[in-house]
Symmetry: C2
DNA sequence: GGACAAACTGGAAGCGCTTCCAGCGAGATT
DNA sequence: AATCTCGCTGGAAGCGCTTCCAGTTTGTCC
């Protein structure tokens, strides 16, 4: 036998019989429904205690059409992307928020076609009560799938080409502006930026923040190179910027990984940071403290992102009409700028 | 309305009616059961296609007593621990393995008492078909909970004080031995180790590997300091070792984080790595490539760990009797040793 | 061509719970 | 004392599926 044979769990019928009441009465006390006399309640509660009764999730789900499960779907072509600490933080936030409910978390890494069709199936077979979506790019088929399934859905971050009705996002625009303004405040003028992928909303928003801050300060955006949020991407972009604009004196990197790559290239090129070149990153997910020099960066609270997504979804499931949220970002000063 | 009202999914009854057969016949063709004539099958399949029928998960679960969901529980006092890239890798492995089945993954971060009781409840209410457990320390209540629930369970790593019947673990002992032997092969003799927490099996196994290798080589274990797998822990341990054994010439650190902390302290103390002191770490989860100098370390395949746990659990659920697995580790040479 | 087995079929009984509804008695009202 | 509430109760009908079983059809063999 694969596992110790469990004693069969008692059923509601058995509890009711033991308490000497009908099944419906027993059900009522369990669900704290009204119209239950004190005596009935006591009898049922005693029976429950004595028998160690726990209502069967599945049966309840069938009757109520509510599974008590919500999905968190991470959609991306590269499953390795999930290894980004970002998602771990989201999950910590989601879990924390879920602990205050009696919902559980189903995690779907829907990268491959297979993964996506499994998810589709899950949604259509009413396997979950709602879904949180993350890391969608452009016209991810998932958006259509989810819409078609007609399930409560909240987005973490915004997809590029449509604004979901319910989403939670970090203030990427504001954060990027903050970073750039800080650089400007330092007296730097030849400020360049290494962006994230311009095929994502995050990438674009952070770039726009940079541009806006520059222009507001009467400066012209000095140079831009597209990165991909990774360290190697950042290094490559840095090299080309150093080639084309050797006199640059500050960098806003759209992620800390990007900044780390840039940092490495700068040091190799003999520039000192922050003396010759000031660097500001974005994210502040641990990595920023470990670079040399430690990175001044824009902090976003990813746990809060997860937490708020969850609360929003719970609201939605409860039939309320929450409104989307933009979470504030803030500048964290370290040594690189 | 919180979400677009979904068209009600057709039921099996409706499919059967449309196909002009009984519900049981329809059920049989869906489940590919025997005793179905060609004509019946065709009719039902056509109806299914036409109506876009998908069997309701919950109803099926109630009838079969199988939910189609497995849990991955991460138990630890500190929810932040989950941010360790280790778990992300496990999850990637688990997901990959699950994609070949029609099971879904429920993730439980059961750190708090509340989290644990939610998990207990989930198990007892038959909310999942099986469970994978990770990061248990000492006498985690979870072990009892799981045993009592009588559900198929596999462990990732071994708890300290009992050997689970089904587990997957990395060859920590062998890996540590490999690392130490490498150091010995380099001609080092005053080799010290910074361990993980000795209250964990991993911590002890890696320590034992170090000792065994030393003794086999006719050396005496030179010095040991207990760390906690973190960078700061590693740094602290390194400091005390440097105090007590200033002439040490090599270090086996029980994790890459630990090694990174040690590295920092060594460089600050003016020792050059690997010239003065050779350093070997353990894990190889990305961080090892980014230290300065890059870390020679023992690689463990965490995705494989997740994958094998999952396969084992699937086997168990299918009623087979798999056997536990120790996954090989291997030395990865970089610059630090 | 009749008997027998094999293949197929639909009815019905679950799985364990929620919830609607009609009925019942006790307290309040005149 | 007769009536009217109103709170409480249990019966029964679901939720959507699987599966056992007995009965019917079909095919096969002598």
């Amino acid at each position: 036998m694969a596992a110790q044979r469990p004693r069969r769990q008692p059923t509601l019928d058995e509890v009711a019989e033991r308490a000497g009441v009908s099944r419906s009465a027993a059900s009522r006390v369990i669900n704290k429904a009204p119209h239950v006399s004190r005596a009935t309640r006591d009898a049922v509660e005693r029976a429950i205690k004595e028998m160690g009764y726990l209502p069967n999730r599945t049966a309840r789900a069938l009757a109520t059409r509510q599974t008590g499960i919500v999905a968190l779907a991470v959609s991306h072509d590269d499953p390795e992307l999930f290894a980004d600490p970002f998602f771990a933080q989201v999950i910590v936030g989601v879990s924390a928020a879920l602990e205050e409910t009696d919902l559980h978390l189903l995690l779907c890494l829907a990268s491959s076609g297979r993964g996506r069709s499994r998810l589709t199936n899950l949604l259509h077979t009413r396997g979950v009560d709602g879904i949180m979506l993350m890391a969608l790019h452009g016209d991810d088929p998932l958006t259509h799938i989810v819409r078609r399934a007609g399930l409560p859905a909240v987005y973490g971050g915004r997809p590029l080409n449509f604004e979901p009705q319910w989403y939670v996002d970090s203030d990427n625009l504001g954060g990027a502006r903050l970073a750039t303004e800080h650089l400007i405040g330092l007296g730097r003028t030849r400020i360049v930026t290494i962006t994230g992928p311009m095929s994502t909303d995050v990438g674009r928003a952070r770039h726009r923040g940079y541009r806006e801050a520059m222009i507001m300060a009467g400066l012209t955006p000095y140079a831009t190179a597209e990165g991909d949020f990774t360290e190697t991407g950042g290094a490559a972009a840095m090299k080309s910027l150093l080639d084309s604009h050797p006199d640059l004196d500050a960098i806003f990197a759209a992620s800390d990984d990007t900044a780390a790559g840039a940092l490495r290239v700068l040091l190799d090129a003999g520039r000192s940071v922050p003396a010759d070149v000031a660097v500001v990153g974005f994210d502040d997910l641990g990595m920023a403290e470990r670079t040399d020099p430690p990175l001044t960066t824009v902090h976003q609270s990813v746990q809060a992102l997860g937490r708020e997504m969850t609360r929003m979804l719970v609201d939605l499931i409860a039939g309320h009409e929450p409104s989307s949220i933009i979470l504030p970002t803030k500048l964290v000063l370290r040594d690189s700028a």
